[in-house]
Amino acid sequence: MDMSETEEFKESPIIRDKKTALPLWTDQRPFQLRYYIPVKRIEEFFRGLEEGKILATQCKSCGQIFFPPQMDCPKCKSSDMKWIQLSDEAELVTYTIIRVKPKTFEHYNDYVIAVGRLLKEKINVFAWLKVDDPSKIRIGMKLKLIVTKREPENYLVYEFIPMKNNKS
């Protein structure tokens, strides 16, 4: 919203919208939203990232793989899961290039979001695809899933990069 200060009201925080000149009260109680999200049951996943591994869970009873990981199998009603390391070879299913970004992503350059299918596990992963030139991206191209550090926030996350010797 484009706004300009108004001088009509000296003692009230009323501004005028630039397009319509309509008066708007400026909220005097702004605050920052920050959540503290429980990860106790999937702590292993983050330990895995520190060792360069991307972990999923697998139900010991029916064998289903869960990624993102979860500790409850709704089919078996079992919480007896094991941690498995995902393979890193994938194929590009679809992608987009984000030009207009959400507020908390405005500090990044345009980024590519991709869905890649892991060749071994036959499951999909949703992540950034890091490429120098987005015009060279082709559906079906081979990708590698890696652990990387997200800057400037400085935390570990997974992303795709093109597989070397890509023949697409």
Binding site: T20, D27, T94, Y95, T96, K101, P102, I113, I139
Partner: protein, 394 residues
């Protein structure tokens, strides 16, 4: 289950409504609906409210609106199914009347999205879906999510950016005759194709706007409806379904599985042949939050075969006179998409269409007396398909 009639409809002007506060905007739709029904606020026993909020300042909008509109001490419940919240409100009011809990109920959808700046609204919208695993690390926007569908769809079926643009041109064309639309103006194919990319391959003109607006419908039992109106429209079916929150868990991003399931359920209840629904329907309002979404809706609803939805718009089959007219209101694309209001707005529009009281340039010929609304929350995280009829269901 009792028959449920729509006996009153109300609709605010959609747009960047900086001239009204949340309860003032709600009142525009409520007053119109009550007057349309010939009722008074005290006759409304139950109100189901669809509002996402977050971008507007009232945390619990139900109580603010009930007081302002003089609806106290009637009962109210707020519902949330993302961009399909409006349909959830209609369904909640429908269940109240069908079950006998209330004889007269109102579904109200309202959103005041322009109480924050655009990047903040884009942020909140994008958090619908899966915040922790998708948004937090990868920052998809909502147009970004639908762009993932568009990329895969165009690659597999050969649709083009021009096909997508044709959806925008059609919906703006009809919006130009809808005075309540956010953008009541025509656009050209060039306007659409020359607009900047927001999330490749989707451009500005592939996207619905950030709108403020409110819509209300009053539902009544058959007994009450008989007393107050000669032209009720009946709710024949209102069926919902869901799909995974994580996009990585969808089988593909070519269609919306929950939309297909909701449609099948609605067709079964309304005794419509799912193989050829256009034979039964006079028109449809579908959830075109982005142009690709309208094309997928054609297929998910069975208006076109899988992979052939884009041919319907290419051949202008969803204009009046075609196989089935779609989004004669202007759709989310041009009428606007005040999230909570959208599903209710669709029911308002179809009721008016069936009663043949919309502007003549956008009035569908009403021959079969059946109309369909398709309302998608997220990218199919929630879907409702509703069927309205001029004939009493049973």
């Amino acid at each position: 289950m009792r028959n449920v009639a729509i006996v009153g409809i109300g609709h605010s002007k959609f747009g960047r409504r900086l001239d009204v506060s949340l309860p003032e905007l709600a009142w525009e739709a409520i007053r119109e609906a009550i007057e349309d029904a010939g009722l008074d606020t005290k006759d409304i026993e139950f109100v189901s409210l669809a509002n996402i909020g977050v971008w507007s300042s009232e945390v619990s909008p139900g109580s603010v609106i009930m007081e302002y509109a003089g609806l106290n001490p009637s009962e109210t419940i707020r519902v949330e199914t993302a961009c399909a919240s409006g349909s959830a409100a209609v369904k909640t009011a429908y269940m109240a009347v069908a079950s006998g809990q209330a004889d007269v109920a109102m579904a109200l959808g309202i959103e005041r999205m322009n109480e924050m700046t655009t990047p903040e609204v884009v942020e909140i919208l994008a958090r619908i879906g899966n915040y922790f695993w998708e948004f937090h690390n990868f920052g998809p926007t909502f147009v970004g999510y639908y762009a993932l569908f568009a990329t895969q769809y165009m690659h597999k079926y050969g649709a083009t950016e021009e096909d997508l643009a044709k959806v925008a041109v059609k919906n703006h064309y009809y919006a130009s005759y809808n005075p309540k639309a956010h953008f009541p103006k025509k656009i050209t194919l060039e306007d659409a194709l020359n607009s900047p990319y927001i999330a490749w391959p989707l451009k500005l003109y592939d996207c619905s706007p950030i709108s403020d607006g409110a819509a209300a419908v009053i539902l009544a039992s058959e007994e009450v409806a008989k007393k107050i109106t000669d032209s009720p429209v009946w709710i024949r079916a209102i069926e919902g379904a869901t799909a995974t929150s994580n996009h990585s868990k969808r089988e593909n991003l070519l269609s919306i599985p929950s939309a297909r399931i909701a449609a099948e359920k609605a067709y079964r209840r309304a005794k419509i042949d799912k193989e050829d629904p256009t034979k039964y329907l006079d028109l449809a309002e579908v959830h075109d939050c982005f142009t690709i979404a309208e094309i997928m809706a054609y297929e998910d609803l069975g208006f076109a075969k899988r992979g052939e939805g884009y041919k319907l718009i290419r051949d202008e089959q969803t204009y009046i006179g075609g196989k089935i007219p779609v989004n004669l209101s202007g759709g989310l694309k041009a009428k606007g998409h005040p999230i909570g209001a959208t599903g209710v707005s669709m029911i308002v529009e179809l009721t008016k269409q069936l009663q043949q009281r919309v502007e003549p340039q956008r009035q569908a010929p009403i021959e079969k007396g059946l109309a369909l609304a398709h309302n998608v929350g997220g990218t199919g995280h929630y879907v409702f398909v509703s069927i309205l009829s001029l004939e009493k269901p049973w």
